[in-house]
């Protein structure tokens, strides 16, 4: 079997203009009374893609998922699945299945009857149902629990039953609503990788809704960051993290330091921004904003160096400050550095060696610095 990595690396149908989307959401709006849950939203999701809808609660991601499942109808716009419009098709006639956040297991049925439920609705012959249920139980490693009822299972086991049940009918698309939300941290991390393997193995299209950015970053091929019923950015996890297209995305995904300023020069693939904090940053930018325009500069904590000595690049991309707080996390240390103007920035450094001689301490005068390609320009 090919390793997951090699398949993943070559998988990027969204870059190919000839590829046909499997799910096409076209200008979909959903209103509940005066409240606009989803606002003129368009999205393409490709076959075999692991697609994540990421956003805070109330951003419309769950509503979009429920429209894909058929529990809600769009107020306007259209959703096309595999070339066919889903308008007016009830949930029980759609070739998609959903894994619910609460798992929604049938409490009065055993594990095997839960899994067999969808197959029975289709009138599948009994022997085939038994074989398929067996296969699904093995897939989620629950073969010993076939005769149990949901309340006789732990949280992690229930999650697996819910997954097996939603996969039993071999849907074209699996919708997952906060699939790992109810699991504890350790189990969640394990399950993330299991879900990815499973998706590759079965060759299905997964659409997952989550508010957990780490979950989305780990699992998804592409992430759609949503806010106020709109998609703010759709991109691969590295693009979202390293090249956020807006202040919102930069701030929403991971930790970030944002410096506001005015563009002082632009050209040759770089831009210089005079920040309000008092120093100038030079940053690589293929499409820099015009000179004189207001712009922001975003840089992640792990890309900022903290040291006692004046860096060679100073005064560009460097500033003086004092250490305000130190958070020791084991694998890395987070410094809060208070700059001259009072702005506190975050910088983190990997603890690559066990014991550092003369480590940085509180109240110490330090320099912070970063490379030209460490951060991005934010135009908004």
């Amino acid at each position: 079997m090919k390793s997951l990595g090699s398949i993943r690396r070559s998988f990027a149908p969204w870059t190919d203009p000839k590829s046909v989307p499997f799910i096409a959401v076209k200008n979909v709006t959903k209103r509940f009374g005066d409240f606009v849950a989803v606002d003129d939203l368009s999205l393409n999701i490709y076959p075999r893609e692991f697609f994540a809808l990421l956003g805070a609660s109330g951003c419309g991601k769950s509503t979009l998922l429920r429209m894909l499942a058929g529990f809600e109808q769009p107020t306007s716009g259209e959703i096309i699945l595999d070339g066919q419009s889903l308008a007016g098709i009830p949930p029980y006639k759609r070739p998609v299945n959903m894994m619910f956040q609460s798992y929604a297991l049938f409490p009065h049925m055993t594990v095997e009857n839960n899994i067999a439920f969808g197959l029975k609705q289709d009138g599948m012959p009994k022997a085939d149902i038994a074989a398929r249920v067996d296969q699904m139980l093995k897939l989620v490693k629950l073969d010993k629990f076939a005769k149990r009822k949901p309340h006789q299972l732990s949280g992690g086991q229930r999650q697996r039953v819910a997954l097996a049940r939603s996969l039993a009918k071999r849907p074209k698309v699996l919708l997952l609503d906060e699939p790992l939300g109810a699991l504890d941290k350790k189990l969640r991390e394990e399950t993330q990788f299991e879900l990815m393997d499973l998706q590759q193995e079965l060759g299905l299209t997964f659409v997952v809704v989550t508010h957990d950015q780490e979950e989305a970053m780990t699992m998804a091929d592409r992430i759609a960051v949503m806010a106020h019923g709109k998609v703010v950015q759709v991109a691969t996890p590295p693009e979202i993290y390293e090249a956020p297209n807006s202040r919102f995305v930069a701030d929403f995904i991971g930790d970030v330091n944002i410096f506001d300023g005015t563009v002082s020069s632009a050209g040759n693939g770089t831009a210089e921004i005079a920040t309000q904090t008092g120093f100038t940053v030079r940053v690589a930018s293929t499409e820099p904003p015009a000179v004189g325009a207001k712009a922001g500069f975003a840089v992640r904590p792990e890309k900022i160096r903290v040291g006692r000595d004046r860096p060679a690049c100073a005064p560009l991309n460097a500033a003086q400050g004092e250490i305000w707080d130190i958070g020791y996390l084991g694998d890395m240390t987070v410094f809060h550095v208070k700059l001259k103007d009072g702005k506190v920035i975050k910088a983190s450094s990997l603890n690559a060696v066990r014991a550092v001689e003369d480590p940085l301490g509180y109240d110490q005068e330090v320099w912070i610095s970063f490379d030209e390609n460490a951060g991005v320009v934010l135009k908004d």
């Binding site: 529990f71 949930p91 299945n97 929604a104 969808g118 006789q152």
Partner: protein, 271 residues
């Protein structure tokens, strides 16, 4: 362990005496040898034997059971549907009015319910008898079923219905295979409540029944007017016995189920 103060003991004794002394007296005197209700003359079961030769009483018991079974069943169907409508469609016009109208019979004086039905039956020329009696019982027990089922539906996780539909079950199949089995205990207790209410109703029955459809409470009441006999005590003792056994079974079943559930959950988390 908590200590029992004298005050607590006294209040419990008085409270229970207040509740059960009349019933104990009734049961004791049902085994009285003497025909005089208040004079004890020795133990006997003769009134129970005599009871089973009293055809009028047996007929009344049979009518009561038939009315109870039919009315409880119909009331359960109607009450469950009403409860479903009330919890599912929370935003239709006039919902408040509708819900208020469902609960009104709960607080309506029985005399008024009975009288209004009597007037209705007279107005439409429906001969009073077994069926008018049954209809009246359906009417007043239905709202009790609706209340019991509705309280269960409020805590019902609707995502399991969505899951069923998502898996290909039509709305009807979803109701029959998922919703109904899950709320079945509440529907059943609604039925038991309706049956019990129908069993011991006197006021509405008196208004709505006709010749040949005398229920047990009506028969007992009319006999008591001629004087209380130990025979009546015996009937009542049997009724008390039936009700007590029913309550006992219900509580034992639900208790053992609860214990089983807790055990299962502990077993699940031990893994």
């Amino acid at each position: 362990m908590q200590r029992w103060s004298r005050f607590n003991i006294a209040s419990i004794v008085i409270g229970f005496a207040f509740l059960y002394l009349p019933i104990v007296l009734l049961v004791v005197f049902s085994f009285n040898e003497s025909k005089l209700v208040t004079v004890w003359a020795g133990f006997s079961t003769k009134w129970y034997v005599q009871l089973f030769h009293n055809q009028a009483l047996l007929d009344a018991a049979w009518v009561t059971i038939r009315v109870g079974l039919i009315s409880a069943t119909v009331a359960t169907v109607l009450g469950t549907l009403a409860a479903l409508a009330m919890t599912r469609y929370t935003r239709f016009r006039g919902r408040m009015l509708f819900s208020g109208m469902i609960y009104a019979p709960l607080v309506m004086p029985e005399v008024i319910t009975g009288l209004s039905m009597l007037l209705l039956f007279v107005a439409i020329g429906f001969d009073r008898g077994f069926w008018t009696l049954t209809l009246a019982h359906i009417t007043f027990t239905m709202c009790f079923v609706a209340v019991v089922v509705q309280s269960r539906l409020l805590s019902f996780d609707r995502s399991i219905e969505e899951a069923a539909m998502d898996l290909g079950a039509t709305p009807v199949a979803t109701f029959l295979q998922v919703t109904l089995p899950v709320i079945a205990p509440a529907v059943f207790s609604g039925w038991v409540l309706a049956f019990t209410l129908s069993l011991d109703d006197l006021v509405i029955s008196s208004f709505t029944s006709g010749p040949g459809a005398t229920t047990l409470p009506m028969r007992i009441y009319s006999q008591v007017r001629l004087g209380v006999t130990p025979e009546i005590n015996a009937v009542c003792t049997i009724l008390i016995g039936i009700v007590a056994i029913g309550v006992l079974i219900a509580s034992v079943v639900s208790r053992s189920r609860e214990i089983q559930r807790v055990k299962d959950e502990q077993a699940a988390f031990a893994h």
